[in-house]
Subunit: 145 residues, 2 copies
């Protein structure tokens, strides 16, 4: 019986050790905590709302770039935020392609009253790590951006 290189190769691949798998699991953990702590708003929706509050009036695509969502994705997110009255759209007089997105008073209030919870969610996600490890993880993840 000869040595099977294909098997050796395959055996050297362990799903549980791959970055992609570990990233997916960590994201799952985070999203579960988010949904529990801030039900009624998804992490993605909160991210878009937060960025919009930070930036002020912003075109839809620009908001997408600021939140790492492509044009198709940010459209869906913005639509749902608008449907809930958290965000409003007004045409840009200087560029007829664009609509400015803006947080409504209600949206801004929700953001401000949720910001503490959002910080808590990050902390809880990182709870299994020591403070130094948390710093390290955030720094390393940042380098992958």
């Amino acid at each position: 019986m000869h040595y099977d290189f294909a098997d050796a190769r395959a055996a050297s691949y362990r799903l549980d050790e791959q970055v992609g798998f570990l990233l997916r699991r960590a994201s799952q953990r985070h999203l579960a905590i988010f949904a529990q702590r801030l039900p009624g708003l998804t992490a993605t929706q909160f991210a878009a709302l937060a960025k919009l509050c930070e930036l002020g009036p912003t075109s839809q695509n620009a908001l997408g770039r600021a939140t790492a969502m492509d044009a198709a994705t940010i459209k869906g997110v913005a639509d749902r935020l608008r449907a809930r009255g958290l965000v409003a759209a007004t045409p840009d007089p200087d560029d007829r392609r664009r609509h400015y997105l803006n947080a409504t008073d209600e949206g801004r209030a929700l953001y401000e009253s949720s910001a503490i919870a959002a910080v808590d969610i990050s902390a809880e996600t990182l709870a299994p790590l020591s403070p130094a490890e948390r710093e390290t993880l955030l720094s390393l993840l940042g380098k992958l951006g």
Copy 2:
């Protein structure tokens, strides 16, 4: 003018520093590399196929648990793998609720011929990091599982 605690709180939340956002961005990076290096099979599909090859005959839900996919998700993934002839399902004689999933010869061959690329994908995803940093990141992500 009084000090506005809500604003102070809000100002202390920076999207770009939150784990959730950084995890999402790192995942995007990984998925983009995966799609480029192994087109024709998603990262999720490859994960399921790899685990199935590793475990041998496995019920659908058990495969889902082994790959961190819920029952509804693994069903869709398994359906697509079956539609492509990479996986086959046979009824479990001992439990009429179950169907064993099994990689076909074609599925196993594809897995074995793709395992090297899969390892490369992980390496490329981590390319911005030093070897020591890669180890650290994987270890910290593992603790969040």
